[in-house]
């Protein structure tokens, strides 16, 4: 590939596709697959965990519910079961001891079971006995409804301690109290099972109490009712204490939605004005319980998910066991309380997935980097191998070059291979002459032009510092030879013509110092190339040494030869002017003429095959020359110069502008064209000439000393020549824009177009056709 080409067509595109696939797509796909696998495992794990958590939560809730149910059952059981036991005991006891049985039973139960508050025993005759706890600790109050002699009813209190010793007795009025009118008595009517009253409050000791009662018939035929008061406060305290999850709680409501037991029961009761019927589930106070209760009413028992304030709760409603008369246990707990470990587990999984992903990405990046490095290494290796092959090939080329060490043979192979291997634009071989007073170029190879040249000579006077640097014997290179004082002159003399900047110089060593140098312009000097260059320098050194020996012999033979006397050249008999004006004699030196009109006539080389034709042609040329002289004199031109197949006519060679010069020259051009056409037509020849004109400043004057000749040069002359060389057709006069601008009023022109010439700029070309 040329170094200037943007795309190397020899590099196959599919290789890069493969590379992209290998380097980018494959790792990317692998990473995506890894991340996908991790995500899939994570999602599955999360789902499984969530389901597990859900099941576990439900089971936990159910277990809790069972536990609470059991606890509630256990709480109530002494009351309900006690009724049955006590009822059975009293039913079959003789009437005289039934009180004793009642008190014994009640006393023990009150001592052992804290939630029991009191026991009633009443019969259908209005008898009523009661045992309850006294406000004094460890004291029981046994009451009996008695009718005094005056017919007034009173309660006879007997206070006993825990040891069963009577402490004191007193009576309190009973008013019109009749146990048969009490709800706990009445609701057992015609029923043989345990009946419960609505909860009611004892404002005195702030106890919520319910009464369970059982009717039975004694052996003597009287019906009796045994009742037990059980406190709900203890149940609420139990529900308050029980832990459901972290922040969950439970509540017992009856079938009408009234709160039976639960957290903060007393505050609730106070808010309801101590009226149990008003202690319903208020959504403001118990929003989540209310929601759970609503769900239960719509969807029945079981766990339900409810949302409140953006948070998910599990609300579970379940029926309480026997004796509870349609009580419902409501359990409410935030889902997080149970699922938090699942969330933690998910978060950890996510973190784990993130870490694995980062590792995967890092590994992928390392993989890509490693691949690229490997490939770059392979490329470098390939480049080095190709360089090695190139150097070996170059060495082989040099080695097989015939007469490599023969100084009379040109060292073409050395410079060529140097340029090829080092990539230099030019490689040249220079040799010191005359004991280092000068240096001559044995050969220069231009790689881009594929051309050799040589024979240039440089003197120490011009390039003293450059010579000194070479003689130091150390290779040196400069990136811009124009700015380094050692190489400035060399750059101007040698390098500027091809526009090179970088220069590497390798002195060629001989037995007594430097013999010359290898110069590389714009080289790509890699360190490993040094040995190749030094090898070439050694070969060059051998050649130079041999050359010096040959030259020493030649010098001796020349010195022995008698020098022939130098013949002085005589003055030329004529110069190259076909015609010149008399004013030319007055021209003594060169100066600038501001407005010179120049006409260049260029003839094509005619093909001559025989001597007869040659004679005819010479006669024709002579005829044309004579006619030119005539026209020139008629138009008072300054001079007509002939050089080979070109003729330069000039007018206006004066230091003061001559306004008529251009008109005269244009007239002369037209006349000459007519004359040439006529003469060539008469000789049966095609018009083989073209003419070009320009007008402007030019340098001119007498140059040289013996002989002194007149010469005219400058841009005007160059442009006139260019016009002649590039005339559109044979026999035409092509002129520049300046000529056209001055003559367009008097002559007819045909435009050829606009053209750009480097260093001169843009201009138009015209063909001079005729006079107006």
């Amino acid at each position: 590939m040329s170094s200037e080409e943007i795309i190397d067509p020899t590099v196959q595109h599919d290789a890069s596709v493969r590379r992209v696939l290998l380097h980018m797509v494959l790792p990317f796909v692998l990473i995506i697959m890894t991340v996908g696998a991790i995500a899939w495992v994570g999602i599955n794990s999360y789902r499984t965990t969530s389901e597990g958590v859900s099941v576990l939560t439900r089971e936990l809730m159910e277990a809790t519910q069972q536990y609470i149910g059991q606890e509630v059952g256990d709480y109530i059981a002494p009351s309900a079961a006690g009724n049955l036991i006590a009822g059975g005991m009293i039913e079959h006891a003789p009437p005289l001891v039934s009180d004793k049985v009642f008190y014994s039973y009640g006393s023990v139960m009150l001592q052992k079971i804290p939630q029991l508050q009191s026991f009633y025993l009443a019969d259908d005759q209005g008898n009523f006995t009661l045992i309850t706890r006294s406000p004094d600790k460890g004291v029981q109050d046994r009451e009996r409804l008695v009718v005094g002699a005056d017919g007034k009813k009173s309660f006879h209190h007997s206070l006993f301690n825990e040891a069963g010793q009577k402490l004191r007795e007193f009576e309190t009025p009973a008013g019109e109290y009749d146990p048969r009118t009490r709800p706990w008595y009445k609701n057992t009517e015609k029923k043989d099972s345990i009946q419960w009253t609505q909860p009611y409050l004892f404002p005195s000791d702030k106890q919520f109490v319910m009464t369970s009662s059982l009717r039975f018939k004694r052996d003597d035929g009287h019906e009796m009712v045994f009742a037990t008061n059980i406190s709900l406060n203890e149940l609420s305290a139990f529900l308050d204490k029980i832990k459901i999850g972290k922040t969950g709680s439970a509540m017992i409501v009856d079938a009408n939605g009234r709160v039976i037991a639960g957290r903060n029961l007393m505050q609730h009761a106070e808010a309801a004005g101590w009226d149990p019927n008003k202690m319903v589930l208020d959504p403001k106070t118990y929003p989540i319980f209310a929601l759970g209760y609503d769900h239960y009413r719509v969807r029945g028992f079981g766990p339900k998910h409810v949302e409140w304030d953006g948070k998910t709760y599990i609300a579970m409603a379940s029926a309480l066991p026997r004796y509870s008369q349609g009580w419902i246990l409501l359990i409410v707990a935030p889902e997080n309380d149970f699922g938090s470990f699942a969330h933690q587990s998910s978060r950890q999984s996510l973190q784990f997935a993130g870490i694995v992903t980062v590792f995967s990405l890092t590994l992928g990046a390392l993989y890509i980097r490693q691949l690229r490095r490997t490939e770059a290494g392979n490329r470098r290796l390939a480049v080095q191998q190709s360089q090695l092959a190139q150097e070996s090939g170059a060495l082989q080329q040099v080695a097989i070059a015939p007469n490599l060490f023969d100084p009379s043979a040109e060292p073409l192979a050395i410079t060529e291979q140097l340029a090829q291997v080092t990539g230099a634009r030019r490689a040249s071989l220079w040799r010191f002459l005359h004991d280092g007073a000068a240096m001559v170029c044995d050969d220069t190879y231009d790689r881009t032009q594929n051309t050799h040249s040589g024979g240039f000579e440089m003197g120490r006077e011009e390039l003293g510092k450059f010579f000194d640097a070479i003689e130091e014997g150390t290779p040196f290179s400069v990136s811009n030879a124009a700015t380094d004082e050692r190489t400035t002159r060399f750059e101007r003399l040698v390098m500027r013509e091809v526009g090179t900047h970088a220069l590497a110089v390798y002195p060629v060593h001989g037995p007594h110092g430097a013999l010359g140098m290898l110069a590389l312009e714009e080289p790509v000097m890699l360190p490993h190339l040094l040995y190749f260059v030094e090898l070439m320098a050694s070969i060059a050194g051998t050649r130079f040494a041999a050359q010096s020996a040959v030259e020493a012999q030649q010098t001796t033979s020349v010195e022995n030869t008698a020098l022939a006397p130098v013949q002085a050249f005589g003055a030329p008999k004529s110069d190259n002017l076909l015609m010149h004006a008399e004013e030319m004699a007055a021209v003594t030196g060169a100066s600038i003429y501001p407005s010179v009109a120049v006409l260049v006539v260029s003839f094509a080389d005619p093909v001559v095959e025989g001597s007869k034709e040659t004679a005819t042609l010479i006669a024709l040329i002579n005829q044309l020359a004579t006619q030119v002289q005539t026209v020139a004199q008629e138009e008072q031109l300054f001079a007509v110069e002939v050089a080979g197949h070109r003729m330069i006519c000039m007018a206006g060679c004066t230091t003061e502008p001559d306004p008529t010069a251009l008109f005269r020259l244009a007239n002369a051009a037209l006349k000459m064209r007519e004359t040439f056409m006529g003469a060539l037509a008469a000789a049966d020849l095609e018009p083989v000439f073209t003419m070009g004109m320009d007008y402007g400043p030019a340098f001119g004057g007498a140059v040289g000393q013996s002989p002194t000749v007149f010469n005219l040069w400058g841009q005007t002359v160059s442009l006139a020549e260019l016009m002649a060389e590039s005339a559109i057709d044979p026999g035409t006069i092509q002129v520049t824009e300046r000529v056209y601008a001055n003559l367009r009023d008097r002559y007819l022109f045909r435009s050829r177009g606009a053209f750009f010439v480097p260093h001169l700029g843009l201009g138009r070309a015209y063909t001079l056709a005729a006079r107006r």
């Binding site: 040329s2 200037e4 080409e5 795309i7 595109h13 590039s726 559109i728 177009g753 606009a754 010439v757």
Partner: protein, 233 residues
């Protein structure tokens, strides 16, 4: 330009051009152009000559066979490589090839500007030198429609030789062109061959290349039965 020395510069190996796409006879074309060769291909039909040059440039689909340039099969390259490889070919064609919206000087250097990193100053210098060499007073800066036919032919030659292409596909600029173009054209061909370029010179008749007959490597005729070698008497 580095000389290509790894085999034939251009190789048509039983290449059967698609008749639908080219109008060329669908017969196998075989030819080998080595570096430095100058092949004259005589084609009476100007359109066929252009199509044959297209075939060599890999612009015509093949029904069979292959066309390889510098060892690369045109059909096996990607678009970028195809275009880059065509950047190594210089062409003079009779097909209209001067875009009207681009001035001629730009159209001349456009190919090199597109394919290479050469500085524009160098390109303009080279283009101006070539333009002068082919008989123009400089690098034409007008739009193509303002230039005479002869000057456009000269500009075509400058464009074809700019950048020292490896292969020159030249549909004869001499026939019908200015007579004085002949010398510079032949000199340019010779110089290109000397530096290792291959030349395919497509002509309409024998007369044009007779002056250069000693420099011709081989002569072919583009006929209905394909490329036929012509004996050089």
């Amino acid at each position: 330009m580095e000389v290509y020395a790894a085999g034939p510069l251009l190789e048509l190996n039983k290449a059967v051009p698609s008749f639908d796409e080219s109008g060329l006879p669908p017969v196998p074309f075989s030819m080998k152009v080595m570096p430095g060769d100058c092949m004259v291909v005589e084609a009476r039909d100007v359109g066929h000559a252009t199509m044959f040059a297209d075939l060599c440039s890999g612009l015509i689909p093949l029904d069979d066979g292959s066309v390889r340039f510098m060892g690369l099969d045109w059909t096996e390259l990607g678009d970028r490589e195809l275009n880059a490889l065509r950047g190594r070919i210089g062409r003079v064609t009779h097909r209209a090839s001067w875009p009207e919206f681009v001035p001629v000087h730009l159209a001349i250097v456009l190919q090199q500007l597109h394919h290479t990193t050469r500085p524009i100053d160098d390109l303009v210098q080279d283009a101006a030198n070539l333009a002068e060499r082919f008989g123009l007073p400089g690098l034409p800066t007008e739009n193509p429609s303002f230039l005479p036919e002869d000057d456009l032919l000269r500009a075509s030659c400058a464009r074809a030789f700019l950048g020292q292409p490896h292969l020159l596909l030249l549909e004869d600029p001499l026939e019908g062109g200015p007579a004085e173009l002949s010398n510079s054209f032949l000199a340019a061909i010779t110089e290109a061959r000397d530096r290792g370029a291959g030349v395919i010179w497509l002509v309409r008749n024998n007369a044009v290349w007779q002056e250069y007959r000693q420099g011709i490597t081989a002569t072919w005729r583009l006929a209905d039965d394909g490329l036929v070698a012509v004996r050089m008497g």
